[in-house]
Symmetry: C2
Subunit: 208 residues, 2 copies
Amino acid sequence: MNSLKQMVPKATLQRFPVYLKALRKLDNLGVQRIMSRELSEFVDIEPTTIRRDFSFLGSLGKQGYGYDVKALIDVFERHLGGRFEEKLIIVGAGNLGRALMNYNRWNHVVGEIVCAFDIEPNKTGAMYEIPVYPLSELKERIPEGCRIAILTVSKDVQETVNLLIEAGVKGIVDFTHEHIQVPKGVNIKAVDVVSMIQELVFETNSIS
Amino acid sequence: MNSLKQMVPKATLQRFPVYLKALRKLDNLGVQRIMSRELSEFVDIEPTTIRRDFSFLGSLGKQGYGYDVKALIDVFERHLGGRFEEKLIIVGAGNLGRALMNYNRWNHVVGEIVCAFDIEPNKTGAMYEIPVYPLSELKERIPEGCRIAILTVSKDVQETVNLLIEAGVKGIVDFTHEHIQVPKGVNIKAVDVVSMIQELVFETNSIS
DNA sequence: TATAGTTTGTGAATATTTTCATAATCTTCA
DNA sequence: TGAAGATTATGAAAATATTCACAAACTATA
């Protein structure tokens, strides 16, 4: 698509989704334009940081006016996959996998969950209108163009990841508690509630 | 407890749980000592960064030897709440809340889920041996010393957060998609699968 | 159209984080 | 015990990220 990554700082990259979420909410509230100073209070990021972050995607604002909310959302969606185009799969149809299948708030935001896979044949079939296939059929069943998988298996984690990578997956949202090794070019985002609680505990301890 | 926070860089803080997780795994594998260079390959963080991170908690290693895995785990657990002492609550007993109640891998790691709350009376009772109370009884039912809540409600988010803060909660693991306002001294960790997917999409787009 | 009042975008300054380079200190083995 | 080899801990340097400060450029109003 584009090759902005070389220039966009990592720190900025991590804030982009925050901005998009906030802008969508503002749009829903009927806000049509916003200034960096206002947005700052909303997302708790300094106005000047916001402006510099935005500047990596172009000159999106107007002096003396601010930013057009809808136009901004448009730009972010183009870069953050907000065009509902991503074909997502869930790998692991246990409790968490099922909850995520039913967690339909993300549909029509980044894409759709096309299907799921599970290693146990007795868990296949369909859940919440999402077909669940045996993991052994991954190669045949994986949707054309699928790049992102949500991983909720509880065993054989690395083996499963290897299968996904072979099948062309480039990004994994990882709900497991394992350390995963991936080759260059494959990204992992770990969702680890335990780690989050640990960070909270540390911060809470440190304050008092 | 201590007041390390002033000195420990934010970036370091975010890596602590990563180290703890890796060390626990190494311990399980029977590894008794480890050097920063070995650990580096495991967690994909530069050895020198690892050593500096560790140094904020003291001189934990020995020259020419490395680090003792169990001793290191001990130090991290002291700082990251690994003593199973945290009393956790889940607020919102919907699909996701239930999945998390049954996601018992975190018990005996940071603490235990003592109970859950839901605004709808017909969802109360008990699930997976965890009692579920009406949200209106939060003040009476919240466990003594509870500081951390896992938030999975889908509406009245800010109102619910306000209730939690009034009840003494200092840290929130946030599974909602809302922007939450909290006073100083209260920390939020947002678990946002959508945002993670967006980051992945951006990164994947940028590489090609 | 002109003027006053805003706010963006960005060079430069500052702050933070990572990495380099090496002294200090440990282990190991003869 | 001593010498060789290894690895940590850390001051200093480099890289990265944030914030300051202000010119440029817009809006709004008369």
